[in-house]
């Protein structure tokens, strides 16, 4: 029996708020490239990239996870955004050869594996010697209770500054996999529920849809500049985003704050609104004192009576 304190830890989070759809067709990658901020057209098969769907005014519709496979793309987005995203893609699809499969069954869900021991846990479970670099993915054989031998996908992702792996498979396979992980004696696997995961992302100043990622803000305000390519050429919203960056015209910045007093949603100095709170941590973090907020950049260096700025998210 291994002492719990000595066992290596890995964290698991079943991503409930995620839709995975398949996009097929010769023009699929080119269409996504023309509509989003990152250089999606450079993806090779089995490579992954985050990119942001933006409006002509450069505001965010959602962040998309794009995994290119041999014959199709697996697009991941928040569940709430799926309908507007599909409508957006449909509006901008003219004669392109693109087929969207919403209820694809192979990779209907995603399990996040993170923490220092995540690679060892995956290698140990699947008998691998895996060292996937960021943005790479691989198929792994899996003996499923319900489906026999099936293929699952492991993707090395880095969202914002958080390294993690995601396992794409059916919901049934992922439930079984969580049980397998839980039984492993070499590792302590900790299942993170939605509430705790939300706290984790807030403490790490990680934006999420629809709280921080929505059409009130642009990717530069959300600290998502690393998912914007400035040399890929035109995409919807490119002119605005490039101008904001080139002329340093970004107005707001997503920040992690610690409230020193109860705060209203609108953050004010005297009677002037200087920002908006977008996410609140739960009570276990200093009675919910940690929050994410968009603040006007010109107030970032000021000392405030009601709150402290803990992280400006500027990379």
């Amino acid at each position: 029996m291994i002492d719990n304190n000595l066992r290596k830890k890995a964290y698991l989070h079943y991503i409930n708020n995620c839709s995975l759809i398949s996009i097929k067709g010769n023009d699929a990658l080119d269409l996504i490239d023309r509509l989003t901020t990152n250089d999606v057209s450079s993806l090779k098969p089995m490579e992954h990239m985050y990119t942001i769907l933006t409006s002509p005014k450069g505001k965010m519709i959602d962040i998309l996870s794009i995994l290119r496979l041999e014959d199709n793309i697996i697009l991941g987005c928040s569940k709430d955004s799926l309908k507007p995203i599909l409508e957006w893609i449909d509006f901008y699809t003219f004669g392109e050869e693109v087929e969207i499969i919403i209820d694809q069954k192979d990779f209907e869900s995603s399990l996040m594996v993170f923490g220092d021991s995540s690679v060892e846990l995956l290698n140990n479970t699947f008998d691998l010697d895996m060292s996937l670099s960021e943005g790479k993915s691989m198929y792994v054989a899996f003996n499923s209770n319900s489906e026999g031998r099936s293929k699952i996908l492991i993707v090395n992702k880095k969202y914002y500054h958080a390294d993690h792996y995601e396992v794409y498979s059916t919901s049934e396979n992922l439930k079984q996999l969580i049980q397998i992980f839980a039984k492993t004696t070499s590792f302590e696997t900790i299942l993170i529920n939605d509430k705790n995961f939300n706290d984790y992302r807030i403490i790490n100043n990680i934006p999420a849809s629809p709280y921080e990622i929505n059409d009130n803000y642009n990717p530069l305000e959300a600290g998502l500049k690393k998912y914007v390519s400035f040399n890929k050429g035109c995409y919807v919203g490119q002119e605005v985003i490039t101008r904001l960056d080139s002329y340093s015209k970004v107005q707001n910045q997503l920040v992690l704050i610690k409230a020193l007093k109860p705060l209203e949603s609108d953050i004010k100095v005297k009677d002037t609104k200087i920002g908006s709170i977008t996410s609140h941590s739960s009570d276990q973090y200093h009675n919910g004192a940690f929050k994410l907020a968009y603040l006007k950049k010109k107030y970032l260096n000021d000392k405030h009576d009601d709150f402290e700025i803990r992280d400006t998210g500027i990379q």
Partner: protein, 122 residues
């Protein structure tokens, strides 16, 4: 001096796409340069470009099944039905010379256009 074209309507009174004589002349010349005997033009729209929708121009010999055919100044224009919604009433002109922009879409549906004029929003 060529006449300045204005937006025209089809037999049903619906706005159509108009192409200037000068633009037709240049399209025919481009067709000859590419060795094509009978040159016509496919016009359309696709998603992308800074403002959301980008104009598409392509030399073509015949229409595809789902395309509307507009005959104008001796040239056939082929346009798919979805693009037509965004292009109805457009006048396609040609601006030559050192400061000219080449083919220019004067599109009444475009509310805004990007700096280079190749994309627009509605």
């Amino acid at each position: 001096m060529l006449n300045k074209p204005s937006a025209q309507r089809d037999q049903k009174g619906l706005l159509t796409i108009t192409i200037s004589e000068d633009a037709v002349k240049h399209i025919k010349e481009f067709g000859k340069l590419e060795g094509k005997k009978d040159t016509n033009l496919r016009v359309g729209v696709k998603g992308g470009g800074c403002s959301g929708l980008t104009y598409v121009l392509e030399l073509a010999e015949s229409a595809k099944d789902n395309e509307k055919v507009i005959t104008e100044n001796g040239l056939e224009l082929y346009v798919d039905k979805k693009s037509y919604i965004f292009l109805a009433g457009t006048i396609l002109e040609y601006q030559g010379g050192l400061n000219g922009k080449g083919f220019v879409f004067n599109n009444p549906n475009a509310k805004t256009a990007c700096g280079c004029g190749t994309s627009f929003s509605v």
